[in-house]
Each structure stands twice: as C-alpha cells, then as structure tokens.
C-alpha cells in the first residue's frame, strides 16, 4: 500500500502567515464594528447631536462645549492617507528588490504616522470636553483613542520592519513581513477615514 510523507504546507497562493494575518485583521474589523455600532446607536437615540441638552449644570459651569475642531484633523487625515501611499511605494520598491528605496519610504511613513499622533494629542488638548462628558465625549475619545493606539502599534511595527530592512533581511523574493505591515497600515488608514467621516463630517 502506498504511503505518503507528511505534508508541510500547500505552496500556492497566500502563505500561511499572510492568511493568518488577514484573519487577524478581520477580527480587528469586528472589534471596531462593535465600537461603531455603539456610536451609531448613541446617535440614533439622541434627540439632538451633539447632545448639548444632556449636559448637567456642573458640566456647563465647567465650560464643557461639545464640539470638535475641523481644520487640524482634516490636515492629519490628509497626512495619514498620504502615508498609505508612501508605504505602498515601499512595498513596490522591495518587490523590485530596491532595498534603499524601501528604507526611505518606511522612514517617511513612520514620520507621517508620528506627525498624525502628535496632531491628535494636540487636538485632544484643545477640546472643551472629556471622556465623561455625555456619551458624545465617551464615544469620541473611545473611538479615536483605540484608533490612535492602533496607529502607535503600526508605527512600532514599521520600526521593526525598518530595522530588519536595514539589516538586509528583505529581498524581491522574501519580503512577506513588509506586505503584512502595509496591509495593517492600510487597515488603520481605512478605519480612520470611516472615523473622520462619521465624527467630523456627517452632522
């Protein structure tokens, strides 16, 4: 009777690592889905939005104002979208085997990510409401906060990839981690576009 050796893995298509990574991102989408659902339900329940009518006397006395600045987040959005483009240039570079260009584009992307985070921190410091000030404040800081944490995670991820590129670990044939990193970064970007749209544009 014929017997076979043990199969290791099927070679065609996505690698196991990439498939696993995509599943991980799918679970992240569901996580943000839960947060968005909470936001939409809060908005649907409210008689006015922002819910100024829910403010207590104490909050009004403290000078709470439920409103956000548009200009700075808008610029930050443009920078973040731009950073999706720059990391993609990096991916294309390493697909051609151009390690120097990969390193350059990664550096640019990391800087853009850091600028975004700084802008977000500055924006937080300018707002006249806190996480405890009605469900408006709670949803705002929760959604943007979890997103910001993901941006920070992405920056660290890119830092690791950058170090590995400098150590010469990637080539045209082997650069999976770079692709995975760019996937993640695009995901973070897309979440932000959705967030920016609902928090800043849809009134």
């Amino acid at each position: 009777m014929a017997t076979h050796g043990i199969a290791t893995q099927h070679k065609q298509g996505l690698s196991n690592g990439m498939l696993g990574f995509i599943l991980f991102i799918a679970s992240e989408v569901m996580f943000f889905g839960g947060l968005f659902a909470a936001y939409f339900i809060a908005r649907a329940d409210a008689t006015e939005w922002p819910p100024e009518n829910m403010l207590t006397a104490e909050q009004i006395a403290r000078g709470v104002k439920l409103e956000v600045e548009f200009a700075l987040p808008f610029i930050a959005t443009i920078l973040l979208v731009l950073s999706s483009v720059t990391i993609q240039f990096g991916v294309w570079a390493i697909r051609r085997g151009d390690r120097t260009a990969l390193i350059r584009w990664l550096m640019v992307t990391i800087v853009l990510g850091l600028v975004f985070l700084t802008a977000q921190m500055f924006d937080y410091s300018q707002l006249h409401f806190r996480a405890g000030d009605t469900v408006y404040g709670t949803t705002f800081y929760t959604l943007t906060g979890f997103h910001g944490a993901h941006v920070a995670g992405g920056v660290i991820f890119m830092g690791v990839i950058l170090a590995r590129s400098m150590a010469g670990q990637f080539s045209a044939a082997r650069h999976e981690a770079v692709e995975a990193c760019s996937f993640y970064w695009h995901f973070v970007d897309v979440v932000w576009i959705a967030l920016f749209t609902v928090l800043y544009i849809v009134k």
Binding site: T3, H4, Q9, G20, F31, L35, A38, I41, T138, T142
Partner: protein, 539 residues
C-alpha cells in the same frame, strides 16, 4: 488487519528537563494536554461553586451564605464554567486532535498556539483574585448587565480584564485553527473528507474570530464606563443600558454555538465508531453546521424579548429556524445508529447521554423562542433548566465522551470501563435529578439569581431534590478520578487503533511521536482507516 503497533522511535530523549519542556513547548499535543488539565481544573472549581449555590438553595430561608457572597458565587460559577472550562476545553481537544485528524505535523502557528494557551491560566487567576479584593469578586452574573455591572467594586474590573484576555486567546486560536485546516491537510484530505470534528472546530473558529472581538469591544466600553467616567450604558449621559445587551448577545448567542458545536463534532466521531457504520449524511451534517454558524448571528435578540426594544416576530422566527439545522443533525445521528451493531462502551454511553439530553434542551429552548411563552419564562428557573440541558447534558457529556474516546490516543492507556459506566450512570441520574425540577420551578415562577426563597412559596421539595442531584453529580467524579489515576499507574499498552475507528489520528501510535506520523495512508474518503482495513477506496 485491525491495528498495528509501530515501535516508538527511541531517539526522542528530552534534551531539557521535563518541567521546562512543558513550560516552553510549542507541540500541539502537549499544548492540548495542558489545555485539558487547565480546563478540567476550572471545571472542578466551577463545580465546587455550584455545590455552594445548591447548598444555599437546598432549603427555604437559608443563610448558609450571605446575599452578597451568593451573587459572587453564582457569577463566578457561570464565568468559570463558560469562559474557563467549556470554551477552552474545545481548544484542548482541537489542539490535540485536529492536526492528527487531517494528517498534519502540527498547527499552522505553533508559537501563537502556545500564546493562546498561556493566556488562559493568568486570566483564570485574575478573575478569581476578585475574591481577595474589596467588595469581592464580580457579582453581575456572567452576562454583566448594566446598570448593575457599572456600579460594582474592583472585582468587576478584574473580571472584565480576564474575559478580554480569554477573548484574545480564543480569537488568535481561532485564526490558527482556520489556517491549519485550510492549509495543512495531508495529500488527498480534501475539505469534504475532513472528519466531522474538524468541521465543527472550523465553524466554531469562524464564529470565534468574528464574534469574540465584538464582545471585547463591549467589555472595553464597560471598562471605560467604570473607570473613566464613560456614559456608554448610562442614560443620564445620553447612553443606553440596552446597548450592552445588544452587543453582549450579538456575541453570546454565537457563543452558545461556540460552546456546543465541537461537542456535536465529538458525538459525530463516537456514534459511527460504536455503531460500526459511517456517519449518516456527512454532507448534510457539514451544511447544517454551517447553517447553524450563519443563523447563529441572526437570533441574538431572543435573549431580549422582554426588553421590548427588539423586533420580536423576526427574532422569534429566526430562533425557530435555527432549530432546523439542529433537527437535521438529530436525524444524522439517529440514522447513523439505525440498524448499526451498537456497543455500549463508555464513550458511546456519554454520546447517547448527549443525544437524549440535548434533545430536551433543544425542545425547551424552542418553547422560549415563542415570544409570548418567553414573557412568562424569561428570568425564571426554566431558562436555567434549558441552559443546563444544552450545556451540561450537551457539552459536558460530550467532553466526557471525548475524554473516554481519545484517552487511549493521548495517554496510551485506556480508562477502566466499569468505572466509566459507573460515572455515566451517576452523572446521568444526578444531572436529571438536579435540572429537571428546575423546569417545574420555572413554570411555577421561581426567578433565577435569587439567594433564597420563602417557605411559603412551595418550592422547597423540588429545590431539595435538585441539591441532592447536584451532590450525586459530584459523586460521579469519584469513579472518574479513580479511573484516571489507575490508568496513569499502568504502562502504556494501547495499540494504534483500539476502537476500530476510521479517522487518521488512529493511524499513528498511541501516543503519537513528536512529529505525529511516520507515514500516512492514501486518503480517498472521510474514512481513510476503514478504506485501509478493507483494502482500498470504498466510498
């Protein structure tokens, strides 16, 4: 040819001390064993808490424990049983069995697998450390409804963090199972030749991957409400207390299938082997499993009929619908046994226990799917009866079916058959004595989650019966423990395939070598060992 004993390779002397080896292992078999030990430990802890609950409720107007302690005890009982026992015990069986059943050398990501496991013990410790802090452990029930859960002491925060950690464990574990089954199958092992247990683990993994992060988001919100003054579930700040219930049940109804599907998978391995017939309707079974997975996401609001905030006809109808694939499976199982030459070894007894008890649990669940009926039964002991008929009569019986069935493979020894029979009958009788009276108590209006009741209620006799039953269940653990200890004291003597089974895990030695297989048969059907025994492709 029934079974062959392949000599175990000698060359696998451990280079590291055994303890260090267990602590750092990435071998799916060892991790599976660690999962089984850990989860059975928490089964014991949850069981002791259950006995405390039953002791308190044995007689009317009892003050064995304070109201406050009672709330902590029943909350921690359910949380341990669901989050630290049932859900991860399937990861234990899955870890050990799935790679073997598909003819793989390991899981797709062995190190991530180790991470999944090592999140469980700290989470358990964290959750139980609530008993040491001010205000005690979590006491808002395993469902942690607001506003109650927003107001409790720090034990609640420990509970939240623990459940988030367990959620991360099962989410990354789910991705690992999915990639393993998609990518690591042996030549010839197509998706539709995978053993049913693998299929149920696969659908469970999909549910976990998509539902658990949603629970994590709700837990994060609860944490923010409690610690950063958030208003998610606080109507005074424009929030919504029902929001918690919506998100929680969006997770937790799929989660009840996370808790039962692998058990159904085990039953579907055991019934054919001990009926000496192939599973009746393999393909129908696979599609029914997928159907349950899909429908599982559309019925969550049947836990919330009485909130008045949900579209009752839709969710009632969908809940009836989910009974359909479950019914299909009942026919699969009965059809499998029909005219089979059935033998009644311990794994089969537990499988039959599952069938009968799960049938009752499914029927009484369908009762409460009828919205008007649910208005009467919601939050009564009827619901407690329902969940225990499905989760204990179903899942726990399946756990023991699986343990008796795979014990020879995992540990190379067989559990004593007489003790197995004794355990089964004690457990079966104890189970029904404990939980059947709860139907009647529920119909009579006894609410769940109360620390005591008055002796004018007329509920005392049934409650006492239930408590006696609970201690009978506890007694059934004695023959089991004796059987395990006795087995470990004997040498490993089991052949590759002691049950004359059909699936690949029985091809290799018991226990298997580190690399699982020295060789594999050709796979032409979902029963490769049957084919090999009968000389070629028979399907």
């Amino acid at each position: 040819m029934t079974s062959i004993v392949v000599p175990r390779p000698e060359g696998f002397a451990h280079p590291r001390p055994a303890l260090l080896d267990w602590l750092t292992t990435v071998d799916h078999k060892k991790l599976g064993i660690l999962y089984l030990y850990t989860t059975m430990f928490f089964f014991g802890v949850g069981g002791v808490l259950a006995l405390l609950v039953r002791t308190q409720l044995a007689v009317a107007d009892n003050s064995f424990v304070s109201n406050d302690a009672y709330n902590q005890i029943f909350t921690m009982h359910a949380s341990a049983m669901l989050f630290l026992f049932i859900i991860p015990v399937w990861a234990g069986f899955g870890n050990y069995v799935v790679p073997l059943q598909i003819g793989a050398a390991d899981m797709a990501f062995p190190r991530i697998n180790a991470l999944s496991f090592w999140l469980v013990p700290p989470a358990g410790i964290l959750m139980f450390s609530g008993f040491l802090v001010d205000g005690g452990a979590a006491q808002a029930g395993w469902t942690a409804y607001s506003p109650l859960a927003r107001g409790l002491g720090p034990g609640m925060d420990l509970w939240i963090i623990a459940v988030i950690l367990l959620g991360i464990s099962s989410t990354i574990g789910a991705a690992n199972f999915m990639v393993t089954m998609f990518r690591m199958r042996a030549p010839g092992m197509t998706m539709f030749r995978m053993p049913i247990f693998c299929w149920t683990m696969l659908v469970t993994a999909v549910l976990q991957l998509l539902a658990t992060p949603v629970l994590a988001s709700a837990l994060a919100m609860l944490y923010i409400d409690r610690n950063f003054g958030g208003a998610f579930f606080d109507p005074n700040g424009g929030g919504n207390a029902i929001l918690w219930q919506n998100i929680f049940w969006f997770y937790s109804h799929p989660a009840v299938y996370i808790m039962i599907l692998p058990g159904m998978g085990i039953i579907s391995e055991v019934l054919p082997v001990f009926s000496r017939k192939p599973l009746f309707g393999y393909t129908a079974f696979v599609f029914a499993t997928m159907g349950i997975g899909g429908l599982g996401f559309s019925v969550w609001a049947h836990h919330m009929f009485t909130t008045g905030a949900v579209l009752k006809p839709w969710f009632g109808f969908m809940t009836f619908m989910i009974g359909v694939p479950t019914g299909v499976k009942m026919f699969n199982w009965l059809g499998t046994m029909w005219r089979g030459s059935i033998s009644f070894e311990a794994p089969m007894l537990f499988a039959l226990g599952f069938l009968s008890m799960f049938l009752i649990g499914g029927i009484n669940g369908t009762f409460s799917a009828a919205v008007p009926v649910d208005f009467a039964l919601h939050d009564t002991y009827f619901v407690v009866a329902h969940i225990h008929y499905v989760l204990f009569g179903g899942s726990v019986f399946a756990v023991f079916a699986g343990l008796y069935y795979w014990f020879p493979k995992i540990w190379g020894r067989r559990l004593n058959e007489r003790l197995g029979q004794a355990q089964f009958w004690l457990m079966f009788i104890g189970f029904n004595l404990t939980f059947f009276p709860m139907h009647l108590l529920g119909l009579d209006g006894m609410p769940r989650r109360i620390a005591t009741y008055s002796n004018e209620s007329g509920w005392e006799a049934l409650n006492l019966a239930s408590t006696v039953g609970a201690f009978l269940i506890a007694t059934s653990m004695i023959p089991f423990t004796v059987a395990v200890v006795a087995a470990f004291m004997r040498p490993k003597d089991q052949p590759n395939d002691p049950w004359n089974a059909n699936t690949l895990e029985w091809w290799t030695t018991s226990p298997p070598p580190v690399h699982n297989f020295d060789d594999l048969p050709e796979v032409h059907s979902e029963r490769p060992l049957f084919d090999a025994r009968h000389g070629g492709a028979g399907h």
